[in-house]
Amino acid sequence: MLESYTGAAILLVIATAISVGMVVATTILGPKREFPDKMEPFECGESQIVSPYQRFSVKFYLVAVLFILFDIEVVFLFPWAILYKKLGLFGLIEMLIFLLILGVGLMYVWIRGGLDWE
């Protein structure tokens, strides 16, 4: 069972080596000329007026919450989809009930404006 992951593990090592090697190479090879004006974060020619580390729109949190909800739904669907041909009508009805409950949830979020960005 675990042997089938050997190749993936070797590829992980090689992929990490490639990425780390690239970062190290570009850090070593490039010139280094530092002076205060240049080191400022880019702000279209201005000095930075506000720090980026502030509160941002709550919409992004909402999307993250919805993502967790619906991604778990997808995770439940994966094993069901593979066994579907064995489960037959029973599996279809069971999953229709499950999808119906989640569909109601989606409709609720939709009607309450949780998916609107205007």
Binding site: S4, Y5, T6, G7, A8, I10, L11, L12, I14, A15, T16, I18, S19, M22, V23, A25, T26, T27, L29, G30, P31, K32, P36, M39, P41, F42, E43, Q48, V50, S51, P52, Y53, F56, F60, V63, A64, F67, F70, D71, V74, V75, L77, F78, A81, I82, L83, Y84, K85, L89, G91, L92, L96, L99, G103, L106, W110, L115, D116, W117, E118
Partner: protein, 358 residues
């Protein structure tokens, strides 16, 4: 044992060479040249070696040298450790997803079974989703650690766009899993030997939705709001220079190849040639002996597979240079209000049709 390890190493070297060494650099040139042709320009044609330009192919070389030798810039107030790590987190998963992607079937060469996939996992497709979504961290960390307003805005957009489309992407392939009853990419590929059993015929709606969702997941035009040049300078990688900047691009190009490969395996018959089964192909090369025929068929299948992947990448490029960018609310609307309900309906319809046919 050792010979298995040697075969695995050969496959890994082949995959790394073809993705990092061939597709990623060549696609940078293709993108420039194709946009030029579509916009009636000439495109990259100046870099030369001794007056020989080779259609501008040497621009790949000059780009690489330039990126390696540019200054590695980290802005004031940035989190230096995270700023350095971000491109590594973005690029590594992009290469790693190829561990489970089969680029051919199974062949017997001189008494040895060769399975053309690095790791033949039974959860193959789930592995692709799991690893590919790790790259989100790379982009968010890149934007957050830069101490730059544009970067942070880009990172926030990236995060919510990528996780939104991950839900959709997961749902659109449920239909394919139901049809083939497997998550193992080698099995899904092997099940499509018959031309009329290709995923595109069994799951036509699933294909279009998956393709749209995966382009959005890769943040390419028309879904490139996270790096919108005219709004956010360059989005999450505004403060990156040199090869670190190049690594984000490499990750994007490698993900294009991944999308091409997944689309080919799930919907376009993987390594199979239409109306030509492996058995027919083997009998055509019977005169070479058993192993010889297997070897020739293997090479043909690898060629066919990467040919199909190339066509898929070409389609992605044409889409990129044809459509304008969507507004951010339109992107989120497409993901949550159109693709999500449609893919749920697709699952239900697929279930009913499968039940009715059996």
């Amino acid at each position: 044992m050792w010979i298995d390890l040697a075969i695995t190493m050969v496959k890994i070297i082949f995959i790394v060479t073809i993705t990092v060494g061939f597709f990623a650099p060549v696609l940078t040139w293709v993108e420039r040249k194709q946009s030029a042709i579509m916009q009636d320009r000439i495109g990259a044609n100046r870099a030369d070696i001794l007056g020989f330009t080779a259609l501008g192919l040497f621009h790949i070389l000059s780009d690489a040298i330039k990126m390696f030798t540019k200054e590695d810039f980290i802005p004031q107030g940035a989190n230096r450790a995270l700023h350095t790590m971000a491109p590594i987190i973005a690029l590594t998963p992009a290469i790693l997803t190829f561990a489970v992607i089969p680029f051919g079937g199974q062949y017997t060469l001189w008494g040895k079974d060769v399975n053309l996939v690095i790791s033949d996992l039974d959860v193959g497709l789930l592995f692709v989703f799991a690893i590919a979504s790790l790259a989100t961290y790379g982009y968010v960390v890149a934007g957050w650690s830069s101490n730059n307003n544009w970067s942070l805005l880009g990172a926030m957009r990236t995060a919510s766009q990528m996780i939104s489309y991950e839900v959709t992407m997961g749902l659109t392939i449920i239909g394919v899993l139901m049809v083939y009853s497997s998550m193992q990419l080698t099995q899904i590929g092997a099940a499509q030997e018959n031309f009329w059993r290709w995923g595109i015929f069994l799951q036509p709606l699933g294909f279009f939705m998956f393709f749209a969702a995966s382009i959005a997941e890769n943040k390419r035009i028309p879904f490139d709001a996270p790096e919108a040049e005219s709004e956010l300078v360059a989005g999450y990688f505004t403060e990156y220079s040199g090869l670190k900047f190049g690594m984000f691009f490499m990750a994007e190009f490698i993900e294009m190849v991944t999308i091409g490969a997944i689309v080919t395996i799930l919907f376009f018959g993987a390594w199979h040639i239409p109306f030509l089964t492996t058995a027919t192909l083997l009998s055509m090369f019977d005169f070479l002996g058993d192993s010889g025929a297997n070897l020739v068929v293997m090479l043909i299948h690898i060629g066919v597979f990467f040919g199909k992947v190339t066509i898929s990448i070409f389609v992605q490029m044409v889409i990129r240079w044809t459509l304008p960018r969507f507004r951010y609310d339109q992107i989120m609307k497409l993901g949550w209000k159109i693709l999500l309900p449609l893919s749920l309906a697709n699952v239900v319809v697929t279930g009913i049709v499968i039940l009715a046919l059996e």
